[in-house]
Symmetry: C2
Subunit: 102 residues, 2 copies
């Protein structure tokens, strides 16, 4: 565990990315299509996660495939899992509020 890893998972966006990459390997573009922000933004987050050692990159033709690194993410699993649940709750209540606000 290092500072960069902690800073990396302190960001909502990067936790979302990490959650997807924990489940399955994905290309940067595939990943970007899940979010409403630009490709370069995703690319920047991936760079931060990579420097922190939380994700691994593998090249396959013109794709770069990313996965969560079990070695480094493993020890954080408990924290991340509880955060992911909190994220989902938060998203749900946000959606409800939007609904009410209409």
């Amino acid at each position: 565990m290092n500072h960069q890893a902690l800073a990396a998972i302190a960001s909502d966006r990067r936790r979302e990315i990490l959650r997807l990459l924990w489940q399955t390997e994905r290309s940067a573009g595939d990943l970007a299509s899940e979010f409403e922000i630009s490709w370069p933004a995703i690319s920047q987050h991936l760079g931060i996660l990579k420097v922190a050692g939380l994700v691994r990159e593998r090249r396959d033709g013109r794709h770069r495939l990313y996965t969560a690194n079990p070695e480094t993410v493993g020890p954080l699993k408990a924290v991340l899992t509880s955060m992911w649940e909190a994220d989902l709750d938060r998203l749900a209540s946000h959606a409800e509020a939007e609904e009410r606000g209409k």
Copy 2:
């Protein structure tokens, strides 16, 4: 565990504060004397830690005494301990570098 807690411990300074408060109860001023930054800066960090639920405040006369909240810090203990070690290592190597640089 909530977002605020994670953001709170992502800061080097706040982890240092939390480390001191994990060991013993301290007043804000006592705490401030351990650092080279101003009292208000410490107060602001304490406010963030308090909102995150990581520290508790108790008033005693004209002092306000702070402690780490075992309920919320407990689950983070593993992460924090490893970070505290990393912090100490980092400080040590920083000091060495300073020494060499003279």
